[in-house]
Amino acid sequence: MMNISLRLRRPPWMVDSNGRRMTSHFQWLSLTFILLYLMNQVNSEKRGAPRDLKCITNNLRVWDCSWKAPSAAGHGTVYEICIENRSHSCYQSEKTNTKIPALLPGDHEITINRLYDFGNPISKFTLNEKNVSLIPDTPEILNLSADFSTSTIHLKWNDRGSVFPHQLTVIWEIKILRKENMEIVKLITHNTTVNGKDTVHHWSWTSDMPLECAIHSVGIRCYVDDPHFSGRKEWSDWSPLKNISWSPDSQTKVFPQDKVILVGSDITFCCVTQEKVLSAQIGQTNCPLIHLDGENVAIKIHNISVSANSGTNVVFTTEDNIFGTVIFVGYPPDIPQKVNCETYDLKEIVCTWNPGRPTALVGPRNTSYTLFEFSGKYVRFKRVEAPTNESYQLFFQMRPNQEIYNFTLSARNPLGRSESTILINITEKVYPRIPTSIKVKDINSTAVMLSWHLPGNFAKIKLLCQIEINKTNSVQELRNVTIKGVENSSYLVAVDKLNPYTIYTFRIRCSTETFWKWSKWSNEKKYLTTEAIPSKGPDTWREWSSDGKNLIIYWKPLPINEANGKILSYNVSCSLDEETQSLSEIPDPQHKAELQLDKNDYIISVVAKNSVGSSPPSKIASMEIPNDDLKVEQAVGMGNGILLTWNYDPNMTCDYVIKWCNSSRSEPCLMDWKKVPSNSTEAVIESDQFRPGVRYSFFLYGCRNEGYQLLRSIIGYIEELAPIVAPNFTVEDTSADSILVKWEDIPVEELRGFLRGYLFYFEKGERDTSKIRGLESGRSDIKVKNITDLSQKTLRIADLQGKTSYHLVLRAYTDGGMGPEKSMFVVTKENSVGLIIAILIPVAVAVIVGVVTSILCYRKREWIKETFYPDIPNPENCKALQFQKSVCEGNSALKTLEMNPCTPNNVEVLETRSAVPKIEDTEIISPIAERPEESSDAEAENHVVVSYCPPVIEEETPNPGADEAGGASQVVYIDIQSMYQPQAKPEEEQENDPVGGAGYKPQMHLPVTSTVDDLAAEDDLDKAAGYRPQANVNTWNLVSPDSPRSTDSNSEIVSFGSPCSINSRQFLIPPKDEDSPKSSGGGWSFTNFFQNKPND
């Protein structure tokens, strides 16, 4: 509020009333004074003077002053306003305001009085600029427009700057109101400067909510900030509001539509609809609704994430429909990276780049690239539809005579733009294309002319080209050539230092002298250079034929790098005493010639010829210098070759020659040869023909005065292997405790290495029972003899057991390993001394017993007679002693007492069993029972039929007791009664067993040999025993018709006349198998009887 003081200066009526009251009493006067003052005031109001002068300005030029008119002032009142201190300027006005020019700073006296109204007081005011208010005029919006696609409001207004006297700052305040209830959503200030003329200002604002969603209103006011104005400065009034509204059609729509925004932005979507929206969601995420005017709703999304290719769907769901929009969230284009510009042909520049971070925007929103050149020319990147592996490159046509290019690659998408620059000298960025049309022409046998086509205009630069030269079995060679560029793209280069008649493969790549990149290699071009004369003569050797009459010249085909062409033939000539004689022309591929020469010292020459000419001759002397001091040495190679060494010999003036052959081949034997320089002392001989396990002969020749001398003869193997056959061995002699073995040499071809010795294994064992087990398994029962004396061909194995089967194995070995084994089973002979002792001792015992028994019987004969043989009744009356005539026919001497039924006495039989060496094993064929003498006739009353049954003893049954007895008998007691059980006897024994006999068994068996040679021994044995059987064995075979067994015609009944012991007999069966003689006996043998050392 403007505060203007109105001062009344001694009004006339007030002066009169004061004079009258001063004459009365003081108190009365005081009350009267107050009363009068109040009355004067009332009268003054009624009569009227202008008051409440207020001044404002809106342009600083003119002050608009107004005052309150007095109540008495009627219509048509004219006021006079005078400014006292300004040369008494007065203004008349019929209104209660007037405009006066702006006054200078300081107090000014203003008088206002009503003209033509005399007697009215004059109002005087003191006016200062400080009491003036500066209130700008209300601004007016010239234009308010909206860009709905960008949700931007554009405001336009005039600042009316022309009204102000000088330049000053104006502050504008703009307010944005939204929705029908005019929510202020934006209030901003905007500063401008006015400079004395009217200016239209623009201001734009982008809404966070699509403008279609709600009504937006805009108002503006201003504030003039003049630092020189000391009065009160106030804001202007707000301009009238202007609205932005979108007139929706009847369809429901969602905004914004198809907008592209940056990842992480905040955005508001709204649905302009007449229907009630139930929910809203972005993608799969539900969002809370913000209600706008009517049924319109909005959702606000914060920090939105990147979209898929097809965009992010934002939908609003109503009762029966879904409305939506698609938002594309991505990134602005990254700065193009690795921008590279180069040229293939100096006609066109190709720039490539990497787009960097993906923008996640595709289709029409994808990044577009434009390549600008400093000159103003530009090219745009065209994208192929649905690219798979998009390559970012642009082609720029070069400008004539321009080498320096300043490129700017600009990338742009709806979210922004970026760019990258590159400055290049294009002549230094040449990446030539692949050279094509490679052609080769001959210059000579060692040089060719190479031509190719390289597209491009390189006339102003030099090219650096690389020629790769390959030939078979050789290291590739690279040659660099610098050539001046040409316009016609054809280039020609000579390539020399080649080999004649050689297939070369050429290929080319090029760059520029100021190297940037090599082009890719051209296709390969093969070319065969022309022939030249062979550079060397062939490598020759000679051998005399086995009969010594012919000299065979051998030579090797020239290697391709020395042949220099296709060798057509070889000329062989010989010279003697400088007389040369051409002998023959040998066509290739024959590489030997046989010459019939005498023993003179010829020089043989061999010359190789191709289509161009002949090689230098290779010469070799026919004679060989003898060497008497020659030994055959052994050597073993390294698997792929063999190393031969020798001592340096200064007498050897020309090359050493090493020849070799398979030692099993006949002379002349030559597989190959090798020449080594005369100063060498070793050579490694390698050949593809070498095979492991094959013996080769190597011969080292020294060359002396054109003559060769055999220095060393070596046999060797490249690699030794184990023999493939076993040594063939036989048993030369066998005794009871030793075996003599003899073997033969293994042939060299089957030995496959140098023989280092034999291994001889032996062990106890038989062919059937002792299977060959692993000999190297460390078995303690195997004895091994390593025979390293190769001259030894026999071996005696001693300390063996008699009559024992031994398993013998022999195998040879080399450094390559053990050969196969050969085995044999041998049984040692019987120990005869032991056998004799084993026989004599029982016989002697039997004789002694017999003699003692005889003496006793003789002395006690009366007592015996009384006791056992009382007076005998007349046998004529005894029917029991009547013999059947039919039985006794033909053999009247034999008569047997028969007692039927007959209960045999129990007789204990003492039997001995002994081991017998198997090699002369004796098998009991049949038991032999001996009958006592005729005394049985006298025992008619008590005659007993006694059967003899040899005990059944398993051969395998161990007999440890026999060992200690040294061939002594083992006593076995058998109940005679048990022998009547026929099913308990072996079938063979049943046949030989006298069925009817029982009760007695001889106490021991004596061996009875069946061979003629042993008959004498048998006789001696009988005599020595002093005891003889009482009758011939054959005569014991009687049949008793009354015997229960007599009906069995197959049975042999052996009867004894008296219960006396007899000698039993056995027969020795000679061995049938020569290699491994053994016992054929099944159950009882002398082998067991004499066995005193167990096998195990």
Partner: protein, 202 residues
């Protein structure tokens, strides 16, 4: 009549080049001459049936491929976003005569072919990397072209009908992306529904 899509014009030019493109084609009067440029296949109806079966067999896969490529919430709001509520879709009466059915089939295939062209065009811009979808759309459009030719051949050769009034779906070129997606989905949903009925009817 809706605005003809850019993709439809070449189709019509090929099929009706003698008569111009874009104008409605009335059914030929019975007594009018009808000639085909190439003789019709002897077993035309079988071919038509096979083509319908082929379309029917692949329609669901195309539908799934399409709405999957549009992103959420299309796969989960098929009833509202992809419901077959295409109002101007040509009718089909399965119990009518063969001639009527063929004429209606012609209209349906023409409608579908044009819409499929719009969808293919939109998806190439919107989903340039969805190659399998593009392939399936192209394959379906190819079969429809063959089917349209065969139906026309049949109509012409047997019923002397050379021209059929056809209508096309809405052109989507001026619509926003969501509308394109939604209209495409609705069309393919309708296609899946209709083609099953049509294939059954033949």
């Amino acid at each position: 009549m809706k605005v003809l899509a850019a993709g439809v014009v070449p189709l019509l030019l090929v099929l009706h080049w003698k008569h111009g493109a874009g104008s409605p084609l009335p059914i030929t009067p019975v007594n009018a001459t009808c000639a085909t440029r190439h003789p019709c296949h002897s077993n035309l109806m079988n071919q038509i049936r096979n083509q319908l079966a082929q379309l029917n067999g692949s329609a669901n896969a195309l539908f799934i491929l399409y709405y999957t490529a549009q992103g959420e919430p299309f796969p989960n709001n098929l009833d509202k976003l992809c419901g077959p509520n295409v109002t101007d879709f040509p009718p089909f009466h399965a119990n009518s005569t063969e001639k009527t059915r063929l004429v209606e089939l012609y209209r349906i295939i023409a409608y579908l072919g044009a819409s499929l062209g719009n969808i293919t065009r939109d998806q190439k811009v919107l989903n340039p990397n969805a190659l399998s979808l593009h392939s399936k759309l192209n394959a379906t459009a190819d079969i429809m072209r063959g089917l349209l030719s065969n139906v026309l051949c049949r109509l012409c050769s047997k019923y002397h009908v050379a021209h059929v009034d056809v209508a096309y779906g809405p052109d989507t070129s001026g619509k926003d992306v969501f509308q394109k997606k939604k209209l495409g989905c609705q069309l393919l949903g309708k296609y899946k529904q209709v083609i099953a009925v049509v294939a059954q009817a033949f």
